[in-house]
Symmetry: C2
Subunit: 672 residues, 2 copies
């Protein structure tokens, strides 16, 4: 049987991916050749026949998004991007696979210039992130119309991606929202690291996706025309689509293909040689014969016309609409935000509301959402508790993608991952809602947001034992510490309504960083009662109340405990002990202040006591190893919150006692 010319072309092009993957993994002496070789046909069909993109303009807003959910197959992506002509993805980068400073890390790292749309590797994250990209696409389509936003999100996913729990949350959410521009190519190779997937899984994946409302297809993953026909059908579907592509892992490696031996280690020189022979690939390592490279480069230019047409449509837009679209895609905030925050702070200073910071956050959102039309809020089924919905927001749903409020369902992890996808897509700023304790469910996605440096805002309410009766399963005690441990994540814990407004502003302004807002369930008094133009929370920690005279004691506190510190200060000052209170809404921003500023905050008094209804870990950087601490030593309990504060000894009296204890130890003869 003779193959037709188109198929020969396809095969040679796919083999270019296989050859580069083998070569790079051999050179790095580590990596994953199996999936790049097995899924090369899928990638070749997708990239050379369907994907809409322009290597000369990797940030073209209306490009199709491609997510390699199986991040370990990074060489599949790098090879394709190099072959397609992305300037940042040179052959030197391919040769430097997995070396320090390259664009070709072990797992793909978000790098738009090189064509990498998101960081993947932790399984399940890619497909769940892609759901957010597809949500953002539909929302912007509903807002700006087909002329500006009308593209697909493609995902290449592995067995491992689909075994992960987060895939369930993502898949059911996508099915519910009828995200018809989302197409998942499932590399159905029947192999995982431990061996055949039959060791650990018996799921009927097609039936599973069918149950979630997806269009489903099965194809031979080495038959390019079958793959193409399936993609055509998927593009025509009114639901999200999965195409299960039956492939052979390590396709082309004659002795190892079809086994886990090809998954995560170099094939070895002999097997690579044998594979070259079998595939008919005669070029030396890292070299691509020019006819094949040219064919790829021509494919890379396919969407040039589409992009020019899009540019013309953009230029023809109404001036204001165009400005608004471009502002959003640049990620710049509208000037109205500062005005809205300023006005809120004036109201709070005047009204001195004694409200929960979650309620304050709702008031802030009531001002922010109308001023910043790119916010998309939501909650993992705790809307009334998280106070994340402002009155102007309509539901985002399959019936109305213009809506800006997402009912994520009880899917904290899927929510966090989808938010990453929205932020990566651009044009929207996502914020979430759940209880702080459930940040644990979101953690892998929050970490990726921090690693990528993207703007997502997590509203985590019920931030301590202050939530009361729901008990220790719902009471965070270690979560502030464990979130503060994540590099490049802002963790805000505002003390009152004014601080809440300031922290919201900082979160929205932090373009290259995710933020967490830890908010109370219970009411807290107003502490900032005069209007300051300055955003004092931007300092991370600041003196909220000065001592009368030379300070002997500094009380550091965050959130709901700042008011306890203020009460304790009154008692200590009354007893003749000059005491200042430092509010600490953000450890991270404080660390970024000048050494001099930090010194004035930290070292103005010999006695230092920190107060937070959480564990001590991390507070030593304020109070030192032997400083005072009033907080939690273990898990909470189920009871009304006031009883809990008493029971666990987090009271103004305890703060006073702790300060006196240390003062006494410093100057035993001066004090009673």
């Amino acid at each position: 049987m003779t193959e037709n010319a188109a198929q020969v072309d396809h095969r040679a092009m796919a083999n270019a991916i296989r050859a580069l993957a083998m070569d790079a993994v051999e050179a790095a002496k580590s990596g994953h050749p199996g999936m790049p070789m097995g899924a090369a046909d899928i990638a070749t069909v997708l990239f050379t026949r369907f994907l809409k993109f322009d290597p000369k303009a990797p940030d073209w807003p209306d490009r199709d998004r491609f997510v390699l959910s199986a991040g370990h197959a990074s060489m599949l992506l790098y090879s394709s991007l190099y072959l397609l002509g992305y300037e940042a993805m040179t052959i030197e980068e391919i040769k430097n696979f997995r070396q320090l400073g390259s664009h070709t890390a072990g797992h793909p790292e978000f790098d738009l210039k090189a064509g990498i749309e998101t960081t993947t590797g932790p399984l399940g994250q890619g497909i769940a992130t892609a759901v957010g990209m597809a949500m953002a696409e539909r929302h912007l389509n509903a807002t700006f119309g087909d002329d500006m936003v009308d593209h697909f999100t493609y995902v290449l996913a592995s067995d491992g991606d689909l075994m992960e729990g987060v895939s369930h949350e993502a898949v059911s959410l996508a099915g519910h929202l009828k995200l018809d521009r989302l197409i998942v190519l499932y590399d159905d190779n029947h192999i995982s690291i431990d061996g055949p997937t039959s060791l650990s899984d018996s799921t009927d994946t097609v039936e599973r996706f069918d149950a979630a409302g997806w269009q489903t297809q099965r194809v031979d993953g080495h038959d390019p025309d079958a793959i193409a026909a399936a993609i055509e059908a998927a593009r025509a579907s009114d639901r999200p689509s999965i195409i299960a592509c039956r492939t052979i892992i390590g396709y082309g490696a004659p002795n190892k293909q079809g086994t886990s031996a090809t998954h995560g280690a170099p094939l070895g020189a002999d097997e690579v040689q044998a594979a070259r022979l079998g595939l008919g690939w005669e070029a030396p390592p890292f070299e691509i014969p020019s006819p094949i490279r040219d064919a790829w480069r021509i494919a890379g230019l396919r969407s040039g016309k589409a992009r020019s047409a899009w540019e013309k449509r953009l230029a023809a837009l109404d001036h204001d609409v165009r400005n608004e679209f471009e502002r959003r895609m640049r990620g710049e905030l509208p000037v109205d935000l500062a005005t809205a925050i300023r006005s809120l702070k004036e109201t709070f200073a005047a009204d001195k509301p004694e409200i929960a910071t979650r309620k304050a956050s709702e008031l802030v959102l009531g001002a922010v959402n109308p001023a910043v039309p790119e916010t998309i809020g939501g909650s993992a089924d705790l809307t009334g508790s998280n106070n994340t919905r402002s009155p102007d927001l309509k539901d985002f749903s399959a019936e109305d993608y213009a809506g800006r409020y997402v009912h994520y369902g009880v899917r904290e992890h899927g929510m966090a991952a989808a938010m990453n996808g929205m932020a990566l897509h651009g044009g929207v700023i996502p914020y979430s809602g759940t209880f702080l304790v459930f940040s644990d469910y979101c953690r892998p996605s929050i970490r990726l947001a921090a690693l990528m440096g993207i703007r997502v805002v997590h509203v985590f309410t019920h931030d301590s034992i202050g939530l009361g009766e729901d008990g220790p399963t719902h009471q965070p005690v270690e979560h502030l510490a464990s979130l503060r441990a994540i590099p490049n994540l802002n963790v805000f814990r505002p003390a009152d309504a004014t601080e809440t407004a300031e922290c919201w502003q900082l979160s929205l302004e932090a373009r290259n960083r995710p933020s967490v807002l830890a908010l109370t369930r219970q009411n807290v008094p107003a502490l900032r009662t005069s209007v300051a133009d300055e955003n004092r929370c931007a300092r991370g920690a600041y003196e909220l109340a000065a001592a009368t005279g030379q300070a002997k004691v500094t009380l550091f506190a965050s959130g709901s405990e700042v008011s306890l510190a203020m009460e304790a200060r009154v008692i200590l000052e009354r007893d003749g002990i000059p005491t200042r209170v430092v509010s600490v809404p953000s450890f991270e921003l404080f660390e970024e202040q000048s050494a001099e500023y930090r010194r004035t905050i930290l070292d103005d008094a010999p006695v230092r006591v920190a107060v937070e209804a959480a564990i001590r870990q991390g507070w030593e950087r304020f109070v030192g190893r032997d400083g005072g601490f009033v907080g939690m030593n273990g898990f909470g309990a189920s009871a009304p919150y006031k009883s809990l504060y008493e029971h666990f000894g987090i009271t103004a009296g305890a703060v006073v006692a702790e300060a006196r204890r240390i003062l006494d130890s410093l100057a035993p003869t001066d004090e009673a």
Copy 2:
């Protein structure tokens, strides 16, 4: 239509649950009446007709397990346990619902005396934990036979449970393992907190479970005979079963039933009154008419005969088998463990192996697993990387439940939750394997293990940038800190093979605590080269190398960085700076030492430097606020690991420089 007597009886018994749930929530002024009222019929059928248990012997090993996955419906469980006659669950406890010190917390807390098999509340955890219980049951059945172990695990789960990602991992694992003794009753009430589930979900749950290999049924959840027939069919199934029970949330509350208004708040006095009227419930609050109470108590005695028969079979067992069964169920270790560890330490002292601690762990398991037959190991599809399989372990599978090695698939969260279930079931000690960075996926289950105080051991390998090329997505930097933040969790990071053996011993001996073993991918030198009978790691931190003369510097380090500290010590001592090295395998155990011991470890030298290839957070308790630290400030990178240690400045030279910098600052005139 007249109802028959049996149905009238059932209805009155179910209404007793409804009445107590309404009353307790009203008294507490908080809680969740909706599901207890909606699922009262299901619970009544299950508890009074099927569940095998004995309120007089809540820890009877062969009892059926019941898991209320929807933990917010805690009053459903508390009411039932009270009505059935558990002595620890008195009417006073019911009246003290959600009050400090009661057995009736907002969400159920593991409390075997009161009949509470596991802590639930964070959604999805219950069903995933139950999978582990069912695995332990089948394993012990295969080991000790039908006479000793032959029971069901029942779960009552809500929409929220099934939306959570971990449910996917649990459900697919259970289906693959054909856990036919697992029966899930799904309270299909179409309501979540934000409103109808149609707001956020369109999944066909029956089809979903079918795809995972489960038996599926649908029934009217208010028809007791239909429920009973479905449970009968489920018990006869050769696969795990789900029964979707269509219910009305808040059943009986005439104005609020069927809406989310009944979910998470008291009904209010008027609605409670109306419900009493509608249900025909005339007794005052917290009172149960004696015929109804008697009917429940009689149901509570149903399994008495079964238990006596079981006791007789136990008594008739071969003496050694009986001793072994009872030892395992008590959770006591065999004496062989100490011998095995001692012998290993001798080998390590003699051989001085330069191996990765993950490899050392494999060698330890090679000795432990034959000596401790109750261990059940496994890995989330990283067996070869985690080194969690010792040669003697056969696969645990649907074909061989006697096997002791579980291929969990790429299901870290499901694995951690299943391990909790195994530990709660008793008779087995589960240990896991995955990369340390993926502890984030397991976190909600690890937290519950710590809260419950149960023995599970997590083997987390690839514990730093030392994993090299896989890059920052796979390199933990904040995970040691964030795990150390969890109360009641032992986090071990051994420095060499001997410490690995000691930390394994401590993990297995910690009956009321989960443990984490953070292990290297890369080789580390042997540091403990003489045999000590004492388990030095039990101190948490200990002096590995003394200073020559009065110490000027203490270097604190853990894991792979202890050898760097030892190298730095040689250089500093050579330069005339007396330096000691303290190895810190466990922060938690160190905190539990006497104040005097801690002082000798911490305060013997004026200069303190900590070394760990992770973030600084937490080390201040050793080195103080201004102490030295050599470690990570942010995320890692993809490169061979030696380049990374150089790149991030984690070297013996850097430790020396840091020590000298601090020494200089203390005595500027003494040093160059």
